[in-house]
Amino acid sequence: MKQDFIKFPLHLIVHPFNGFWDMKYDGKGKLKVAFTILALAILSITLQKQFAGFLVNFNDPRYLNSLGDIVGVLFPFLLWCAANWSITTLMGGEGKFKEIVLATAYSVTPLVLIYVPITIASRFMVKEETAFYYLMLTIAFVWFIGLLFVGTMTVHQYTALKTVVTMALTVVVMGIIVFLGALVFSMFQQIYEFFYNIYRELIFRA
């Protein structure tokens, strides 16, 4: 339990090459841990939006919505996994979908680890010190991207260059998926409208 939930993620974020290797080949990654990390990330982002200090919190409290935060994390996450799986399948990646999910979710760990303490610390900052807040947020983000990079590289057994290309393509594919989704949605809406109009026509004639 402690090994899965605490020790392994903490080991992974500081030793990503070993960590992701163990995750893939020694079966050390667990889906329940991955989802816990995601849940914690959602929680920490929500907490940050709500409780970050006045000097750094530019959110309009009237429009804070934790449902939005949930969607805002889960939707890109699933989109990334799906897009990454689609592209790596074509590009000879060795990773299974589960491994992609695991690698992506474990990469989010630094966000959780940094957001919570810096949110608390931001409440005790004056204007000149808020630079540290933004520095920490940047570190969290860069760390996350770095882990995602190593994770993708290890899971698919790619070279560094191929990983970069794949990640860029994944982002493009994410856009394509969203576009297709919108297209399908609008098409269904029009089909619905079509049948509804037929129905209305019949009603008025009868």
Binding site: F54, L55, D60, F124, V126, K127, E128
Partner: protein, 498 residues
């Protein structure tokens, strides 16, 4: 039957009563023909009590001098006399603040001959009572003494920087303490024209910057010479009006729909020194429909103590700002009722009241401050003069009338900060969304707290450190023991084996 009738009567009476009861309230709230609002921190137009309400209108016929014909300027002198440039009738109408005609100036003596105005569109009166008239179609500025005799004529400016054949068409005029005359002239893009007290041209002050339009530049790359010649030139916009504050700074407005700085405060060397410390730019409406467009300022009036009001001809609104560029209140609209405008062209004050000259209607609308408007003015004045503590009870009253008034929270916060009540100041700055001052207050508050609790904090730290040290020592000691114990049986076992 009787009972039924009686019941019906009661029902009817109660209905009457119900409908009668709320009506005074709605009548009171709809007493202004416009909706009052102010922008909050989130740049939304939040409803606000009206700061000024229309009191009456004054037309030329009311004054008994015949209707105004396309009047275009209004000025209140230091002695309270109100001057109207009645452009279409070629005259200046002077009235008292009780709306009695003092005199009508339509001619003056020039070198022994009778001379008159031709479409005068700007008036200004200096502290000595001299009247400055921008005599537009005659291409001159006429200066008259208080008694109506001619003092000076400013015309035909001569300078190397003026193009040959330059035609002087003055529209608006203002004068500073050193008797320098500032003129906004038609077709002059270089800035406000400045003349000395003798009437000779000195130069320009405060040029408007040219706005770059990148799409235009992009198209220009692909166009032929003939096409380029047909395109609009990149020229700075003209100023639309000017006013002078007591320090001799020129407040100027310009009509540039894309400008972020339609209002400027020019120092003597012509630089813009307007303070813009508010949440948003000093541009009038920050949210507007695309079909309506941004505010178009045609006049500005310095109300004193750093407060200035600008008149937006596009939507017929008056925007009043304080010294730091905070929007104090907005009122007015376009329409046909009393208190709404057709073509507003000039704004001035008479005591506490605001006067707005409407060219389309040919009348002057008089606006009286409400309690809210009075209190806001009063508190802003006190704040401008550095009397923050005295402003606090007034700000509190403002907040009682409008709890959304951010400037009041900031004002109270500042006073508390001066009195070193940093914790309370923080609360007020947070309500007013003033992060900069909040940070200052918090820095002091944090230092105070640390000073206050330093001894108890250090005691706790020392005790905790001691406990931790003891714990670590104990653990180390306990760890060592089993090692010794474990070593002993091993040797024993070894003995046995042997």
């Amino acid at each position: 039957m009787a009972a039924k009738q009686w019941l019906l009567g009661v029902a009817a009476a109660s209905l009457l009563f119900l409908s009668a009861a709320p009506s005074p309230v709605s009548a009171a709230s709809s007493s202004t023909p416009y909706e009052s609002y102010n922008y909050n921190y989130w740049e939304e137009g939040a409803p606000s009590p009206a700061a000024y309400v229309p009191a009456r209108t004054v037309s030329g016929t009311d004054l008994g001098v015949g209707s105004f014909l396309e009047p275009s300027d209004l000025y209140t002198a230091v002695d309270g006399l109100i001057y109207v440039a009645d452009t279409g009738n070629n005259r200046i109408v002077v009235m008292t603040d009780e709306w009695k005609v003092d005199r009508v100036i339509d001619s003056f003596e020039n070198e022994g001959k009778k001379d008159s105005f031709n479409m005068p569109s700007g008036v200004y009166v200096d502290e000595l009572g001299s009247l400055f008239v921008a005599d537009t179609n005659n291409g001159r500025v006429v200066v008259l003494h208080k008694d109506g005799t001619l003092k000076l004529i400013v015309d035909n400016p001569q300078s190397d920087i003026l193009a040959a054949g330059f035609k002087f068409v003055p529209l608006k005029v203002a004068v500073d303490k050193a008797q320098r005359v500032y003129v906004v002239a038609n077709g002059v893009y270089e800035g406000v024209m400045q003349f000395d007290s003798e009437g000779s041209f000195i130069g320009y002050v405060g040029t408007n910057k040219v706005q770059r339009d990148y799409t235009e530049i992009f198209w220009r790359i692909f166009s032929t010479k003939a096409q380029k010649a047909k395109m609009v030139l990149f020229i700075p916009t003209e100023f639309s009006n000017i006013d002078m504050d007591h320090k001799g700074f020129v407040y100027a407005t310009n009509i540039d729909p894309n400008s972020k700085e339609p209002i400027k405060r020019l120092n003597p060397s012509g630089e813009d020194v307007l303070k813009r410390y508010g949440y948003f730019a000093v541009v009038g409406d920050i949210r507007f429909r695309m079909s309506v467009g941004p505010s178009k300022f045609v006049d500005i009036k310095v109300m004193g103590d750093g407060i200035y009001s600008a008149l937006d001809s596009n939507q017929g609104k008056i925007f009043t700002y304080d010294d730091e560029g905070n929007l104090l209140y907005v009122y007015g609209s376009k329409g046909n009722q009393v208190g709404t405008f057709k073509t507003p062209v000039a704004i001035d004050r008479s005591g506490q009241n605001h006067l707005v000259l409407d060219r389309g209607k040919g009348n002057i609308a008089v606006f009286e401050p409400t309690l809210f408007g009075q209190k806001v003015n009063e508190a802003s004045q006190l704040h401008y003069n550095g009397r923050n503590t005295e402003a606090v009870p007034i700000w509190e009253e403002v907040l009682r009338l409008n709890a959304n008034y951010d400037i009041a929270y900031i004002g109270i916060g500042r006073s508390l900060l001066m009195e070193k009540q940093n914790g309370e100041a923080m609360d007020y700055f947070e309500l007013g969304m003033d992060r900069k001052n909040y940070s200052v207050a918090y820095k002091r508050h944090r230092r105070e707290l640390m000073k206050e609790h330093f001894s108890s904090f250090m005691t706790t730290v020392v005790i905790l450190a001691a406990v931790l040290a003891a714990f670590l020592l104990a653990r180390a000691w306990r760890k060592r023991k089993p090692f010794v114990r474990a070593a002993a049986p091993q040797t024993k076992g070894g003995d046995r084996a042997l």
